[in-house]
Symmetry: C2
Subunit: 340 residues, 2 copies
DNA sequence: CAATTTTGTTTAATCGATTAAACCGAGTTT
DNA sequence: AAACTCGGTTTAATCGATTAAACAAAATTG
């Protein structure tokens, strides 16, 4: 590898001080520099293929123009889309994104966080896993950050969220309006509040409509054995004496497993079971009954998270910002009105 | 934000020099340091919540333990999986990944590359877009890098690839063996060699089997208007006097559009058209005739790319490594043998 | 016991940039 | 002509760590 040229090299080759080179290349001290000298310096910089050593600059300025992003798993389409939009928004403002997947594991989460903090990222956008509340709390006053998708109600943090309660409520009302009477839900068994809110939206909507939320109609599954537990949950919902006639899924991954199950067992959608899922995904379009889904405004959320973060990087002690976006119910064939 | 503690702070608080603190925290000069002093230093480091300033360390050591990854678009499942495995493999070796999406745009590609180089990433893993050959060439002797998925036959670079020719050949032979006689392909109209190799595998297999590669049987589409052109290509293939009875898709995205088209137009798979696609994707499992697909060993490719890159970071002037993996044909319902 | 080693620690240069402050010579002002 | 301004440039400190080399005191050796 050939040695990189430094300001010093340019200075030596041009016969000036490094300070002058720095001023010229950064367009500082505008009027005060001899145009000819400036031109010679610029020409030499190009000739020697100079590029700023950001590491050195960062050390001096204590700004890296890097933001850290930690999501559950970049290979989940929801995370990937979020990552992509965040990347674009950050890029627009001259920031680079450093990424880490936590796998919902708080130990791993801490490890990634440590790595990011050691690298002096200017700020963080985080989607925290279960049991990471103290960890997140410890970041306060350490580094600017914004939570996205998930949050801790007891922590007053900057956050950008979906209205999970409202979205689930809306989805449930939609099914009721379409004539379904035995509505079930499969959601994660998780301490994460945003998921609990989805369950709450579901039960509240049922209660308000005077439809009994029969026991067992809310099935909770563990992320660790998702496929098996989702299949079991489907059996539980559809196998009862009065089987469910519609099911809401707490995430696209749950829905994916559930739809495969329905397909393998020849259960007709929406005839035997209408479906609604959180998180729209392309994949569902290939199913014969494309899935009605709650679409999150991922792009808006990403842009907003970046905006809030950068504001907090620029300026300390801003008031906490908590933004909640409504989900949009995209109605498709899987929840077509029930034939009477 | 509270000020971060530096070595100097610990040194002052403990009453020793920064050098000693550094030696202790890095476990250098093992036997030579007074155990009690070492303990005091360590205790103070914990108490003051010290974390290494990687920026400063990197400036001195000229190692960032960061690798740059530039793929087409992180929100494509293939890219996402690749990114995920690369992240894991890098993490295992103590490296962090900085990511960028190029959108197949060489200008953007250069911009990302510049940002990564300015940040002194120790090495790069790249999936280059069309027309970036000179750009890639200019990286030689500048920074260690490995190409993944794509390559330039005229450049002797480290690379980790799929055997695109062989995979397409295999897919075509499979269709022939299953009794299909009018096989078509939709592939990208691109200067990227790895894509051309897929076309070549297709045409060669047909030629060898004595089946005429009828004109128009290889349809090329542009990434810029993929949906429209894919639909048109499908019409072209299926609408001819002797319509195609099987189609191979050059990528999962093309396949996605094509399957939607088939679905919307009620064309039976595999009855009217058998299908095989490059790049296995979950989504295809929801289609009534799950797609036979060429599965790339993404994980192996990621691990290998990281291995080669790190080797080249550790040591200069290693011989170029070019690894090609076979694709695996996963046979599913979409290419079931043709009824005679 | 003088010479040498060993142990434990500090000094100081360095990485590559940024930037306040100093400097110098040429013009201007009074 | 002394004092001042200003354009153009350099000096030098600094960011926070690393590390070769120097150093002092204690322990060992011949």
């Amino acid at each position: 590898m050939q040695k990189r040229t430094s300001l010093k090299d340019i200075a030596a080759a041009t016969g000036v001080s490094t300070a002058l080179v720095s001023y010229v290349l950064n367009n500082k001290k505008e009027g005060r520099i001899n145009k000819l000298v400036a031109e010679r310096i610029r020409a030499m910089a190009v000739k020697m293929n100079y590029r700023t050593n950001q590491i050195a600059r960062s050390l001096k300025t204590s700004r890296t123009y890097t933001i850290g992003l930690v999501l559950a798993d970049i290979s989940n389409p929801f995370s990937a889309a979020l990552a992509r939009y965040i990347e674009d928004a950050a890029d627009q403002e001259g920031y680079t994104v450093v990424f880490g997947s936590s796998d919902e594991n708080p130990i791993k989460y801490k490890k990634i966080l440590d790595a990011l903090l050691n690298r002096q990222t200017d700020g963080l956008i985080l989607s925290p896993p279960e049991n990471s509340e103290l960890l997140i709390k410890s970041l306060q006053h350490q580094v600017p950050f914004v939570l996205i998708d998930r949050y801790f109600p007891t922590l007053p943090t900057n956050q950008v969220l979906l209205d999970n309660y409202g979205s689930a409520y809306q989805a449930t009302r939609h099914l009721i309006a379409a004539g379904y009477k035995q509505i079930g839900m499969i959601n994660y068994d998780s301490a994460l509040v945003h998921l609990a809110e989805r369950s709450r939206g579901f039960t509240t909507a049922l209660a308000e409509s005077g439809l009994p939320a029969a026991p067992g109609r809310l099935q909770l599954v563990h992320a660790t054995a998702l496929r098996e537990e989702t299949e079991l949950a489907m059996k539980n919902l559809l196998g009862k004496p009065t089987p469910a006639d519609a099911v809401i899924f707490g995430s696209n991954i749950v829905a994916m497993h559930a739809v495969k199950y329905l397909k393998e067992n020849g259960i007709r959608v929406p005839g035997q079971a209408a479906l609604v899922t959180f998180d729209e995904t392309d994949a569902f379009d290939l199913f014969y009954a494309p899935l009605t889904a709650i679409r999150q405004p991922i792009r808006k959320m990403a842009v907003e998270a970046v905006r809030i973060l950068l504001a907090n990087i620029e300026k300390e002690n801003l008031p906490v910002e908590q933004v909640t976006y409504p989900g949009k119910l995209i109605i498709r064939a899987s929840s077509a009105p029930r034939d009477q």
